[in-house]
């Protein structure tokens, strides 16, 4: 369920050239064209969608590199 929501956020805010639906859960989002600028918008939208705040220690490339990585971070914050 949450992975679907993440996908939706990426679709709306990730500014991808690739089709998000065709991306695997472990595909590298940066390789798919997510810029650092777009990743900030993704983070903001995720905070809004999941009603949480990413602490600064999580604001790094590896935490947002795939749908799986984002999902793991959200699970950790909402556990």
């Amino acid at each position: 369920m949450s992975k679907e929501q993440i996908r939706q956020v990426l679709k709306e805010h990730g500014k991808f050239s690739a089709d998000i639906d065709s991306l695997a859960d472990n595909a590298d989002l940066y390789e798919a064209g997510m810029t650092s600028h777009a990743s900030v918008n993704v983070m903001l939208a995720l905070e809004d969608a999941f009603d949480l705040e990413f602490p600064d220690r999580m604001l790094k490339r590896s935490v947002f590199e795939s749908i799986n990585a984002i999902d793991a971070a959200i699970q950790e914050l909402t556990a």
């Binding site: 050239s17 390789e31 798919a32 064209g33 900030v40 600064d56 220690r57 604001l59 790094k60 490339r61």
Partner: protein
């Protein structure tokens, strides 16, 4: 700064005094390459200073390189900037391509022949945005082809090899970049304009159309985005920091000598300019302190086990290094301007030993080289999610 006089530091002092200083004025006036200084840097094996000892280099650390850059910049900022830019390329290779046999071999050759490596990140249409490329690597079997329309390649005509950013392949996104080393025999450069600039004239950095081929082994595996965050950006700002400190120190030292001269002319009184000098020295100290603090932190973080996924790749760190660039590059022209006001007309005259003209013009490149507004815009974006917690 009291540098411990290591062999590389001694060599840098020699090059600065004997081969950079005597030609700095002509290099600036004619916007010509500082050939004497760069030839001396090669002779002293300073181009391979960072290469690990197992490959034949001197294996010095980043802190020592920053000191070398400062020593050179006190005499000729163009020479220092060329040296700094070359070292950024060497460090990127050492940190990210060392498990590639082609690059291991290349580094051994670099030590032997003292190749000078230029950087090609700028491109028509992306300007100063290092993390975007239009051009793409086209692979055919074991060979690749790459054409790039670059807006600025420092010492492009004098370099041996080039380290180029490009999209990973023709289907890749603009931000999905690779870094590729191309060899002198395998590229051509068509110069598309001049380099008649205000300062940093000796870096000889005109636009070029670059066409190259090579072996696929020359395409570094690590995505450029990772290299950029962990190495290229912090190391650039620290090595450029050495150049800015040297340029500032040269201006401060002229002002110091000027005030001392006034004091000697009027023994027993403190000349009014000494007050301005006191302010100037405190500005210089702040610049030095901020470069030094970031350097110390980077040296620790970059050798940590989690360097590839840890603090170096965090937004908070990126903000900090960006702030160093903004602050230092704003401080530099202020320092030189203040030194100018101390020396008065003798600082304003081009033919006086207190002339500030070259330092002031060189100093203004710092805010342009990767535009400060662009960096501030990045910070503004990061601050939308950073919480400073």
């Amino acid at each position: 700064m009291d540098n411990p006089a290591t062999p590389m530091i001694l060599a840098a002092r020699l090059v600065a005094k004997e081969f950079a200083a005597p030609h700095a004025k002509a290099v600036d006036q004619d916007a010509r390459f500082p050939i004497e200084a760069v030839t001396a840097l090669k002779r002293e094996k300073l181009l391979s200073a960072y290469v690990p000892a197992e490959f034949g280099g001197a294996g010095v650390g980043l802190t020592e390189l920053v000191q070398i850059v400062e020593i050179l910049a006190r005499e000729c900022a163009s020479t220092a900037m060329i040296y700094a830019m070359h070292q950024i390329q060497v460090i990127s290779i050492v940190r990210h391509a060392m498990d590639n046999p082609w690059y291991q071999n290349y580094l051994r050759e670099l030590v032997q022949h003292q190749y000078l490596i230029a950087s090609v990140t700028s491109e028509v249409g992306v300007g100063g945005e290092m993390r975007r490329s239009h051009c793409a690597v086209e692979v055919d079997g074991q060979r690749f082809k790459l054409v790039k329309d670059a807006t600025t390649i420092s010492y492009g005509a004098q370099a041996d090899d080039l380290l180029v950013t490009a999209r990973r392949n023709p289907d890749a996104a603009h931000s999905d970049q690779s870094l590729i080393l191309v060899r002198k025999a395998d590229y051509t450069l068509e110069q598309k304009g001049g380099w008649d600039t205000m300062g940093m004239r000796g870096t000889c950095s005109p636009p070029f159309l670059m066409s190259s081929v090579g072996d696929v082994a020359q395409i570094i595996d690590v995505p450029f985005g990772d290299m950029s965050a962990q190495t290229v950006v912090p190391v650039s700002h620290l090595l450029w920091g050495g150049c800015w400190m040297g340029c500032a120190a040269a201006a401060v030292n002229k002002a110091r000598a000027f005030v001392r001269g006034q004091a000697r002319a009027n023994p027993g009184t403190v000349p009014p300019t000494a007050l301005r000098l006191a302010e100037l020295v405190s500005m210089m100290q702040s610049l030095r302190t901020s470069v030094q603090a970031c350097l110390t932190e980077y040296e620790t973080l970059s050798v940590a086990d989690d360097a590839a996924v840890g603090t170096l790749t965090s937004m908070g760190y990126s903000l900090k290094m960006n702030n160093l660039k903004i602050d230092a590059t704003q401080a530099l022209p202020n320092i030189v301007t203040k030194a100018l006001s101390i020396c008065g007309i003798l600082g304003y005259k081009n033919d006086s030993k207190f002339s500030m003209s070259r330092h002031l013009r060189d100093a203004h490149s710092a805010a342009i080289m990767v535009g400060n507004d662009r960096i501030l815009a990045t910070n503004a974006n990061l601050l939308l999610v950073l919480k400073d917690d």
